[in-house]
Amino acid sequence: MPPIIEVKDLTKEFRTFRRREGVLGALQNLFVREHVTVRAVDHVSFAIEPGEMVGYIGANGAGKSTTIKVLTDILVPTSGHVVSNGFVPYRERRRYTKHIGVVFGQRTQLWWDIAVIESFKLLKEIYEIPERDYRQRLDMFSDLLNLREYLHTPVRKLSLGERMRCDLAASLLHNPPLLFLDEPTIGLDVVAKDRIREFMKEVNRTEGTTVLLTTHDLSDIEELSKRIIIIDKGRIVFDGDLGQMKKRLAKYNQVKFFLKDRSQVAYLSRVQSDGIVCERVDELTYLIRFDREQHSSAEVIRQIVNTLEVRDIFVEEEPIEEIVKRIYLSGEVA
């Protein structure tokens, strides 16, 4: 099957002007503007297969949202080619939007003042959803997302988590083959996050919906997608399997251990040696991060148990947050 989304050499530049400060500066701004061109997305290419769930991540300002906005036809690219679900988004806007669902975590797509169910009914008209499909999907979403109790509440009275669930249901009412989620779990508590993730998995499994999601919460990615694309300063720095990324990019392992009692703290320095440094987690919990190439876990553990009295000891792989943090900071993939 051909890819459902194909992005080739996508570049998007913004032209803004530098604002001067103060009253005089504001006056000056009216007449003379210093223009600055910012390249938000720089020759980005990727392809997504039907039914995939792909995590698209990057630090603030890395170009995630810009990419999503091009794919959802809000922005026209400066150069490059985009074909999504057989359409060139910014050329065939109205026909294309019928085939996509979009959720922006930061702001709702629903009408603020009217009851959720009324918003849904309007969307039914807008997307020309047949009555039977609408009923069936509304039922299904109400069950899966537990919407029933506030279907008749105006959107502005909902909590963030409730609103998010409604937004998600709204974006899928017309059964789009493609779903774009821009930070869908932002600001949500653990339970709400979990419910949304479960729902996404269910929809992906039963309907084969292709999902591209951006997030800052890497646990979203671990829960949902096998594939991860990392963008940094407008360029893609990694595109591949999540497991592969760990294998390729995890440099460190970490050993976490719990001291038997406080007296042991004094001996901590004895464990430390070249490339092995103790970090304090809390009073009795300490962490040693070490380069996997230079030391083996066995060696580090031996060192610890030989010099200290410990209650528990765990070996962990470097968490994906740490790997990603390193990429954001250094901007390159070793």
């Binding site: 032209r15 009217i114 309007l122």
Partner: protein, 263 residues
């Protein structure tokens, strides 16, 4: 087309429901709208208590003009609500993204998402004033005139809307909006008096630059039997079509600019 008509009815019904849910709020809006209308007519009354005629226009004629212009203005006011803070709400706050995400015409969505219902009062008041004036002047409209009347009302509303759409579209280019809408809005009331009382410059301005004269003054001359402006009267639909075309082009350009800059 049929789909958009159905959607319009949906949007309208929906909005009406929301609006009427807050009864006090709606009543206050209704009465203040009514008060503004009454004040407008009050001004004409005061004016004519000091002077017998305005140039060669009688009291009844001026009232007719003022009443007539209220009808297209009322329709315009009903749908123009979103245009006032378009830059603020849609561009700066970013609601326009949502508009772009839906498979419905962008202009349609912006105009019909909110209705100033209380302005329907202006349509009714305008019709009443026009009827009374015609009776007082012993003028009767022929069958063809009813058709012209309806067409002129529609054209007038379209002209008002087109002018303000063009001004609104400016927000697509300039985030920090220049205060251009309020002065133009005030000029709208200039067009509700006989254009001939103004100097040539303003007459030209209100005819060809900001064509408010074509929305109110020129149409009424026909119904009042003043045939000096017959050519202008027949140009009304042309001006309406021309300006709405211009408005659509400018708005579409604006949308393209928005998408390429993402301001």
């Amino acid at each position: 087309m049929k789909r958009h008509l159905r959607l319009f009815l949906r949007y309208f019904a929906q909005y009406t429901k929301v609006r009427l849910a807050y009864k006090a709020d709606f009543l206050i809006a209704f009465f203040s709208s009514m008060a503004a209308t009454v004040l407008g007519f009050g001004f004409v009354l005061v004016l004519f208590s000091k002077i017998p005629r305005l140039q060669d226009w009688s009291f009844n004629e001026v009232m007719f003009l003022y009443g007539f212009s209220l009808i297209p203005l009322g329709f315009f006011n009903v749908v123009s609500w979103n245009l006032y803070d378009f830059g603020e709400l849609y561009i700066i706050e970013g609601r326009f993204d949502r508009v772009l995400l839906r498979p419905v015409d962008t202009l349609f969505q912006v105009i019909f998402e909110k209705f100033r219902l209380e302005s329907l009062q202006e349509v009714v008041t305008g019709l009443a004033v026009v009827t009374i004036c015609l009776r007082r002047m012993h003028l009767a409209l022929g069958v063809a005139d009813y058709f012209w009347f309806a067409l002129m009302v529609a054209c007038g509303a379209v002209i008002y809307l087109a002018v303000f759409l063009i001004l609104t579209a400016v927000s697509f280019w300039f985030e920090d909006r220049v205060g251009i809408v309020p002065p133009v809005f005030n000029m709208l009331n200039f067009g509700r008096y006989p254009l001939t009382i103004y100097n040539v410059f303003i007459q030209f301005l209100l005819s060809w630059i900001i064509p408010f004269g074509f929305a109110s003054f020129y149409p009424t001359t026909h119904f009042l039997g003043r045939n000096t402006f017959a050519v202008y009267f027949h140009l009304v639909p042309v001006v309406a079509a021309g300006f709405s075309l211009l408005a659509i082009v400018v708005c579409n350009r604006g949308v393209v600019n928005y998408s390429s800059t993402g301001t």
